[in-house]
């Protein structure tokens, strides 16, 4: 049977070229095509840098770690999830501490879209940066987000974890990985050094999301969307417009795109300026349907209500705390305020959470400060089912933290066990 290619048979041996000449041309053509492809990709990653904020923020923060570690004077790190990213202001915290007579420079190391397995790698990078400078942190707060450590989160976050791990890999990590899996090591190298830490999955999310959003605006919506009352539909439109207005306002303030991890604001998500205040306040007033939709999304992706924990992620969190404790004079695990108006955990879930917290405390030796049920932090302090508002929740919580830790920080560094803290979980069995 004569063989054929998937086109009609190519003209065979019409060229006078020898084998080596053909091979040389093939090599040149292959290299040229690959180079062109990589340049195309590199251009796209530059363009998308602004869009993929969470990944860019993580990469920039890691890049600025040496600078953070070198900065003289006592420093504090608030390490956690998007709850910290959105809900902690280093400026307010430091200013309040100064009123208590404590001189400290704090940093917001909260990142969205991560889970403890990513935090573990990030914590290691933080430790290495500070060890290299032979410095320690005066205070480290490590946020434990219960719904980020669930089995549902482990499943839903698999790609983002892989991408973040590729982004944070050091040359030594890649070398060790090559002994375990050459395939993964090669992929990690390409992502880390040729694609600015952005995987194809991240690109696909952006382009796919953009295409879907644009088409959804043009195509007839599904029936479910039509079930919303007119005032809700109007409110959602206003929120969308406020979002666009915020982007335009921020572009004016920063003269372009803002840095996702701005060293001037020490990692704070600074949104409120004269040009943007009105839009931010509008954005903070989400509709009940938006809250409901956000809660349903959290239930789907993260099991936020029933809290089926993942042991491997708890192990990673414990390792994260240990990494940071190694370079900290004081370290404490904290739980951010919970939007109890929407997130109502059943007793079994709370019991599981309690067991997990006991385990964390037991295995790290670090005390836990549970701020989930703070008085005064009702539903009005939240912009969705989990995150604090920028104009009220964030500054209030930052001041509360400063008031809480000021007594300990005024005292010389010693075991945090001995300091009176409120509210505080009992340590040990």
């Amino acid at each position: 049977m004569p063989s054929s290619t998937s086109s009609s048979d190519p003209v065979v041996a019409s060229s006078e070229l020898g084998t080596r000449q053909v091979a040389l041309r093939a090599v040149v053509a292959g290299v040229a095509l690959l180079t062109a492809g990589l340049l195309f990709t590199r251009c796209q990653t530059y363009v998308l840098d602004w869009v993929l904020l969470e990944d860019t923020r993580l990469r920039e923060a890691v890049g600025l770690l040496p600078e953070v570690a070198e900065t003289p004077g006592p420093a504090a790190l608030f390490f956690g999830s998007s709850l910290v990213y959105v809900g902690f202001s280093p400026a307010v915290f430091d200013a309040r501490l100064e009123e208590h007579g404590v001189d400290l420079r704090s940093y917001n190391f909260g990142f969205g879209g991560i889970n403890p397995s990513i935090q573990r790698v990030l914590a290691r990078r933080v430790r290495l940066a500070f060890e290299e400078q032979n410095r320690t942190l005066a205070l480290t707060l490590v946020e434990f987000t219960p719904f980020q450590a669930t089995e549902a989160r482990a499943r839903s976050n698999a790609r983002s974890r892989e991408q973040s791990l590729m982004m944070l890999a050091t040359p030594t990590d890649i070398l060790h990985l090559s002994l375990e899996s050459p395939e993964r090591a090669a992929r990690t190298f390409v992502v880390r050094y040729l694609r600015m830490g952005l995987t194809a999955e991240a690109m696909t999310q952006v382009f796919g999301g953009l295409a879907t959003t644009l088409l959804s605006a043009v195509l007839p919506s599904g029936a479910a969307a039509l079930e919303l009352p007119p005032e809700e539909v109007q409110a959602q439109r206003e929120v969308q417009q406020a979002g666009l207005g915020l982007l335009v306002g921020l572009a004016k303030v920063y003269g372009g795109k803002p840095d996702p991890w701005d060293p001037e604001f020490r990692g704070e998500l600074r949104l409120i300026f004269p040009e943007t205040r009105e839009h931010v306040l509008r954005l903070m007033q989400q509709t009940p349907s938006a809250f409901q939709s956000d809660l349903e999304n959290r239930i789907r992706c993260c099991d936020i209500v029933d809290l089926g924990f993942d042991d491997a992620l708890i192990d990673d969190f414990i390792a994260t705390v240990r990494e940071l404790a190694a370079i900290s004079e004081r370290v404490e695990v904290i739980l951010m305020p919970k939007n109890a108006a929407w997130v109502k955990n059943p007793p079994e879930a709370l019991a599981r959470q309690s067991e997990v917290l006991d385990r964390i405390q037991r295995e790290t030796g670090v005390p836990i400060a549970d701020f989930q049920t703070l008085p005064g932090f009702d539903g009005s302090r939240f912009r969705d089912s989990t995150h604090l508002t920028s104009h009220e929740g964030k500054p209030e919580f930052s001041r509360l933290l400063a008031d809480h830790y000021a007594p300990a920080l005024r005292a010389p560094p010693r075991s945090v066990y001995q300091d009176p803290m409120y509210p505080r979980r009992p340590t040990g069995p």
């Binding site: 049977m1 290619t5 998937s6 009609s8 091979a23 040229a32 095509l33 029936a223 479910a224």
Partner: protein
């Protein structure tokens, strides 16, 4: 090692340089092909290399013995030894657990309490492909269609030839052995065409991976999804499996061309088929022709028991894909389609319509065939038979499904575009590749764009679907 990964690029670069500039004589090149192919295979699991070697050695020895043996009963015995060895290996690794589970289920239905032992076995990658390839040699030698080959090195290199080792196209011995005998020189025209095929394959693989999410939404969701999402999932899977598999085949053929080898086509615009029979002349051509030549014809072909032979062939085709009732039902479904088509074509009116080539008739036949093929894909992709049947009901009974969510129409349109693009790429390559290759000003920018697209969006963590077969 997956074709679309940096590691394979490194491997092939080194291999190509050695093949083209260092190992210029036949025997060293055969060693390079063999060693390189085994290194490639070891990228998955080096422990199964002995299995590949065993298959090669047994069939090589059987080939030599067949050459010396004239007595028909003894020749049949030798052939049986080859078939039993190859199918035995296949059955052990691929079908043992399925057979035991099915027997246990059957026993339980009859009222016996039996629990099947589970054998913790890894399916060696490519086993379905290289065992069929190896058997084709001994069967052809037995039928005296090809002469016995001497040279175990050449035979083993042919069987393990890495471009097509793990997911085809299934190379027959008669196709690859003569090429390894004469060691063809790559030409610049062949090289250009190879680069076109590799780029087309990478782009199709990328598009296929992008279709994965809507597929999972329809087939793997814990609760029913809307009608649009259900149909979108089926359409997306049709695109995904075609883009994935034909993409792999294209890359394999392209790699072969870069080395000077001709590997047969595996797809020829299957979604343009005008009937179920026509579909199988266009889909996974190397498997369907293998089954035709070695199963269908062996059972008598169309000379006796036509419909029985068709059903057996299609059932075995389904079973070849995997140890699961869904694959068997998929094979049986296509067998029924083929048999029914043959039966209907005996009616003059139907035969006339089938032969009608005006655009309206062709469009109708193509759309009808597409619908029937899509229904078949439901069985192919579903995890269980009950899941497949539930999905089939959902496709045709919208009242029982939840309302469509806001983004579903947009996702459906994007999937349709992805599906169309995959088909369009093949159309361009099959119809216009030569013209394209003569126009350098168009060819190289297009290839660069294709490479850029594949690098930008290609998710290197996704294996090819047919690796699991």
């Amino acid at each position: 090692m997956l074709f679309h990964t940096p590691l394979f690029l490194l491997f092939f670069s080194v291999f190509f340089l050695l093949y083209s500039f260092v190992f210029l004589r036949r025997t060293p090149r055969l060693w390079l092909i063999l060693v390189g192919s085994l290194v490639f295979y070891a990228g998955w699991n080096y422990r199964f290399i002995p299995l590949l070697i065993l298959s090669a050695v047994v069939d090589y020895a059987v080939g030599l013995a067949l050459d010396r043996e004239e007595r028909e009963p003894r020749r049949k015995w030798l052939l049986s030894a080859s078939i039993v060895t190859n199918l035995g290996i296949l059955a052990t690794f691929k079908y043992a657990n399925f057979a035991m589970e099915s027997a246990s289920t059957f026993a339980q239905v009859l009222g016996y309490s039996v629990s099947a032992p589970v054998w913790d076995v890894v399916l060696p990658v490519g086993i379905s492909f290289y065992t069929f390839q190896s058997m084709s040699y001994t069967i052809d030698v037995y039928r005296r269609q090809i002469p016995t080959r001497r040279g175990l090195l050449q035979f083993t290199a042919a069987l393990s030839f890495f471009p097509q080792l793990v997911a085809g196209p299934i190379l027959r011995a008669r196709q690859i052995l003569p090429q390894l005998e004469r060691m063809p020189r790559p030409t610049w025209e062949g090289t250009k065409h190879g680069l076109v095929l590799i780029t087309a394959g990478l782009v199709k693989k990328t598009l296929a991976d992008l279709l994965a999410a809507p597929v999972a939404r329809a087939f793997d969701a814990a609760e029913p999804v809307s009608l649009i999402e259900t149909w979108t999932g089926v359409l997306a899977f049709a695109g995904q499996i075609y883009g994935d598999f034909s993409g792999y085949s294209d890359i394999a053929i392209g790699l072969g061309l870069l080395l000077g080898f001709q590997i047969p086509a595996n797809f020829r615009l299957p979604y343009f088929a005008s009937s179920p029979v026509d579909f199988w002349r266009r889909w996974h051509i190397t498997l369907s022709t293998w089954l035709r030549d070695y199963v269908y014809i062996s059972f008598g072909g169309n000379r006796a028991h036509l419909y029985r032979n068709l059903m057996i062939t299609m059932l075995l085709g389904g079973l070849w894909h995997g140890a699961s009732w869904t694959f068997i039902v998929w094979g049986a479904y296509h067998g029924i389609l083929v048999v029914v088509q043959r039966l209907l074509e005996r009616i003059p009116t139907v035969a006339d319509w089938s032969a009608n080539s005006n655009w309206w008739a062709r469009l109708t036949k193509t759309l009808l065939t597409l619908y029937l093929v899509f229904i078949g894909w439901v069985f192919f992709r579903a995890q269980t038979l009950s899941g497949a049947l539930t999905l089939l009901v959902d496709l045709h009974q919208p009242a029982s499904l939840p309302a469509t969510s806001g983004e579903a129409p947009a996702v459906a349109l994007l999937c349709a575009v992805g599906f169309a693009l995959i088909c369009l790429i093949d159309l361009v390559v099959i119809r216009w590749a030569q013209g394209l290759e003569r126009r350098r000003w168009l060819l190289w920018p297009l290839l660069a764009f294709g490479q850029g697209f594949a690098i930008l969006l290609g998710e290197t963590g996704h294996a090819f679907i047919y690796f699991q077969f």
